[in-house]
Symmetry: C2
Subunit: 408 residues, 2 copies
DNA sequence: ATCTAATTTCTCGACTGTCGAGAAAAAAGC
DNA sequence: GCTTTTTTCTCGACAGTCGAGAAATTAGAT
């Protein structure tokens, strides 16, 4: 069923539009907002007045005026309107970042990821969040959103990790990490989903468009994939399919997930290690492989060692076949490769292309663009900010009380 | 970028809401529309008055009033507001249906699909369309939409068949089938996409909800797949990925598409034939296999013939592995199996389940629901109507002239 | 035959929103 | 000090939704 519309929703939508223009371009003047949003000047006056009264945005201190005419009044988000904490979970560390409403990074620290079960893990995160607010002397209640990312499968609507390399199918509910005194909403997303979102937003910013859809492939100990698509409504649609554990080969090598023949069981770091040393494919996979170990194999491969070369080539082929299936089921799209595994791109490339080349989609639409994007951590952080602020802004605008009561 | 909103769009949205309620439930009274849409009674008055003035809806002739109180006034679409033609292309026939704006089928006929290239094909369709309007003495100009369906890959936005079993990658632009005097828009969709859309709408109607996503799998000479998803906005999102030509097995059997190892090259009718007779897998596939031929193989399989059994089982496995990949990349969802191939479900089932069972998604989310839905043709037609009328209604409402000028 | 209750449709005024035009503000140049 | 230029702000017109209650119309009671 379609949703009904009303004049209030119109104002909400257009307020969101103003706020998102401010996010994208930073400080803007009245006229600039009007240009960016397409709304009439009078409408901008009305909306900015509302937002200012609600203490969501503020007029920046005057900067040196340039050119003649009435000086511009720049608007920007009120820094202490609220805060955002991002929690980036990787295999060995948990990184916490505190960001104010204007998007400025206030604090960042990492803590080693301890051993133990999900309870201990959640307790550690809970402590980390407490530490984050205490270090900056910020009221817990003013944290609007905690944005968590991890590898693995996130529940589509709840902040629950449905499957992860570390805890398997034992669910982890991050909502439980917030104790009393916190009012923040908690969201959880797959890491590579955020990367895909960040890449799409970068495209919008630089080319003002470009292809409307892309995939991000993260190579490392595990294999991550995110898809981002610009869709009619305006809000991009991002998802993180279970690519790493899609079937590559029936009855194939044993994977960390317990299944057989997953893509990861051929292309993950542990799989490359296994293949290079000709360990039987049903060997229980290594919990963790230091990058140095794979570097050694890569060095041998680059020196001509056949077995090492084959390990990378097969890994590439698993990825290529997997990508060909991705393109078959999601349509043709460019692929951006990121993660620690990109340093072996020279050894993987041939296999990837071989795997891709056979399929009908590729024969029809051509080889998809394969671009290596090295700096995964900043993409993840960017993705966090994009997604988190769009949610925070939506929530703030949605709660009409804040817009009206604050005006008293 | 988000889209800007305005009060006019609000009216558009709500008018569409009223029209879609009318589509779903048939004739409705003022109060019923209000209940169905959630709009205030006064708003319904205003909108229905507009639509009536624009000659889009009309008050039905009074029917026997029941119960006391002021008698209801029922609204329904004005039949001759415009017409819709559906063109359903199958391997041997082309079926034309003429439907009025109220959704009543006025005429239907089929013509054999001739030989020849794309030009001859388009000319035949052009003639078929002419015949459709002439038989019912309808003005070409009052046909609002021609909705075409076919197997194969449709262009995402244009009515162009990008790949089809018959014409291969030679594109067919159905817009060219309309000559002078026609103002209709032409849309083209994959047949199984329409099936998926129809199944989703049926779920909405009966259960008022149910799972928000499903897949339709059509088994026949070729393999079709459609995905339908209820999404926040209200308009369902339907797509037809290139499932049949997704890679099933690297360097596998030759497919009609020219690639090797496609799902279809193992699960299509010609593939079952090839496997049952132990013809080498790189044999050029048969253009067309009569169902009777496959029936014979099925009979032999049911009588215990090993080779025939294996042919079906391998076909099932190709489908099962393919579906497991679908679930990996699109999330867990129930699958509805349709098409002529459903009559061999008993022989395919085991293979399908075997192929599905191995994967991570299935181990996590359980075996997906597999439901056989026999009557594919009516699903296709239903899908045509759903999609076509939602577009027609949108267009009619969108063209503001019709709403205002008609009031003179 | 008339009155009352029930039910539905229609209308009015209040409210919220967008927009265009032009007034007001404020700095730079002459 | 006046003019030009540029930006912001304000006003009134217009479009839309909503709640309340009036108007319409029938069934049943008296």
């Amino acid at each position: 069923m379609l949703a009904k519309s009303s004049t209030e929703l119109v104002r909400q939508q257009n307020s969101a539009l103003v706020l998102s223009a401010l996010r994208r371009h930073g400080r803007l003047a009245h006229t600039e907002i009007s240009d960016a949003t397409g709304l009439a000047s009078a409408t901008i006056s009305s909306i900015t007045a509302d937002l200012e009264r609600a203490r969501i945005i503020e007029k920046s201190e005057q900067q040196a005026t340039v050119g003649r005419g009435r000086p511009r009044v720049l608007f920007s988000q009120r820094r202490n309107c609220g805060y955002l904490i991002t929690v980036i979970i990787s295999s060995d560390l948990i990184q916490y970042s505190l960001i104010d409403y204007a998007g400025t990074l206030l604090d960042r620290f990492s803590e080693p990821r301890g051993e133990g079960g999900t309870a201990a893990f959640l307790a550690a995160i809970s402590a980390g969040l407490e530490r984050a607010v205490e270090r900056s002397r910020i009221d817990r209640g003013s944290v609007l959103l905690v944005s968590v990312s991890s590898k693995g499968l996130a529940h589509p609507s709840e902040p629950v990790l449905v499957w992860s390399p570390v805890f398997g199918s034992q669910p982890v509910d991050f909502a439980a990490a917030l104790k009393d005194g916190w009012h923040a909403k908690v969201i959880l997303n797959n890491e590579t989903l955020l990367v895909a979102g960040a890449l799409l937003e970068r495209q919008v910013k630089t080319q003002g468009g470009g292809e409307p859809v892309l995939a991000a492939l993260s190579l490392g100990h595990s294999i991550g994939l995110g898809i981002a698509r610009r869709v009619a409504g305006g809000v991009p649609e991002i998802s993180a399919p279970n690519f790493g554990h899609m079937l590559h080969m029936p009855n194939g090598g044993l994977c960390r997930c317990g299944a057989r023949g997953c893509v990861e069981a051929y292309a993950g770091f542990y799989a490359i290690l296994r293949a290079a040393f000709e360990v039987p494919l049903d060997t229980i996979p290594a919990k963790f492989v230091p990058v140095a170990e794979i570097d050694k194999i890569a060095a041998r491969a680059r020196q001509g060692n056949r077995m090492a070369q084959l390990a990378f080539r097969n890994a590439g082929a698993a990825l290529g076949y997997g990508l060909s299936r991705l393109l078959s089921l999601h349509g043709h799209m460019p692929v951006f490769i990121t993660g620690p595994g990109t340093r072996y791109q020279d050894l993987l490339q041939a296999g990837i292309e071989e795997g891709l080349a056979q399929t009908h989609v590729v024969r029809l639409g051509g080889m998809p663009g394969l671009t290596v994007v090295p700096d995964e951590p900043s993409l993840v952080f960017e993705g966090h900010l994009n997604l988190a602020f769009s949610i925070v802004d939506q929530d703030i605008i949605g709660s009409r009380q804040s817009m009206q009561a604050a005006g008293e």
